[in-house]
Symmetry: C2
Subunit: 275 residues, 2 copies
Amino acid sequence: MSTRPVIGIFDSGFGGLTVMRSLLRLVPQADYIYLGDTARLPYGSKSRETIARYAVGSARFLEARGAELLVVACNTASALALDALQAEARIPVLGVIQPGASAAAAAAPGSGVLVLATEATVQSHAYARACAEHGLQAYEKACPLLVPLVEEGWTDHPVTEEVARLYLAEAFADARAAGISPTTILLGCTHYPLLQPLLERVLRTHFAGTPVRILDSAEATARVVAQQLAATAGLPAAQPQCSFYATDSVAKFERLGSRFLGQPIGQVQLIDLGG
Amino acid sequence: MSTRPVIGIFDSGFGGLTVMRSLLRLVPQADYIYLGDTARLPYGSKSRETIARYAVGSARFLEARGAELLVVACNTASALALDALQAEARIPVLGVIQPGASAAAAAAPGSGVLVLATEATVQSHAYARACAEHGLQAYEKACPLLVPLVEEGWTDHPVTEEVARLYLAEAFADARAAGISPTTILLGCTHYPLLQPLLERVLRTHFAGTPVRILDSAEATARVVAQQLAATAGLPAAQPQCSFYATDSVAKFERLGSRFLGQPIGQVQLIDLGG
């Protein structure tokens, strides 16, 4: 590409804005179209067929708007619908799970990984499979309270610390019982990067004997995109153009979105994808 | 009705099973059809038009299955779609908000009420309006973490106690700042009855000087149904026949449902309402 590439980012909500935040830092030579399928979130409670249908509809919208690369910034859709998307889309499609597993392997080859994720992502075992392909043993821990705690804004709150401590204690004990000694924690949910400072503090305070680094799939995915678009890295610097679309509840998107994106979010346009 | 009435119960998920639990106790002479629109939950993040469309579709399904009375056991749908449902349905439709407000007025006429509910229900101000119609001043407090805490099974957990303490402290302070001194707490979310023992303990421990009773809309709604069906109360006692339908994610419904219903839940049948 000799012109600025256009990257489409798709998520069930606004959580994928953490992926976009990393992309804006690592791939500033691109323009961005973000679609949050907020009318139909959460994907986590839905079947594979339903999620694939929703995801393909969203991909078509982003293609029609000019996206040349589709980033599925949704762990559930990456886990359950990446095959369907890659079969249906006419542009390259990248999920967040393979980059996360690959980054964990690069950081500590052959090590144990603790994957923190939503219940749906854990039940899919997509991270365990991706980690195994990279020679890593993964223990997957569902942390259903972390998303609502982040959305409540309690990213630096004693209650969240206590919940994180309880989840990590259970996870380390269960991982050890399964013969896995994690040296990497992989954040397998787009909301969790906002908790990274708190998680690091909890690890230092309560698990000092457990030397663990934290990686997140959002950052890892942005690095893969940066590599794929390396040929365009020399394009003249310009402020990326960013468009935001949602299928419902624009108010919450606009209210919480800037916290996830790490910068003010412009107007979010409401669209109807049916259903 | 001289035969056993058939009551249709509709919710966006399985939370409305707390309403059904109260109904089974107070109206055992009826049979029940429960529909959880799990494919499209949560309603809380969706627009009024979308919720009304979903709710009307669900009402039609329950009518077609023989329901003679429709209980909207979903605070969000009661707040945003009761008018549409009453206009479209051919059977009587009862929501949970009016009965809740009415019960609060009966318990303490002219008093202050603290309504605990989800963000969507609070934003609709449906409880404040219904309470005002009954001569009550209501302060509505959104408690977004309580649903995920209940679904995590932490209904008797120190973290939930601390979250409840924080929410109640904020709510009492904000209510007083608004000139309202609550003597009644109204649980305006179908998940919250499972927290009533914990909330009573938190009130005793941390708010001993605040004499407050807890009422819940689920119980209040069941009492209204019992009154409406009083003519059938003498029907021969028999075990109510109960059917359960969901539009997706039957597994979670079956796993968590029995806790909400207070008794084992039978098989949940998956149906497709489109969308």
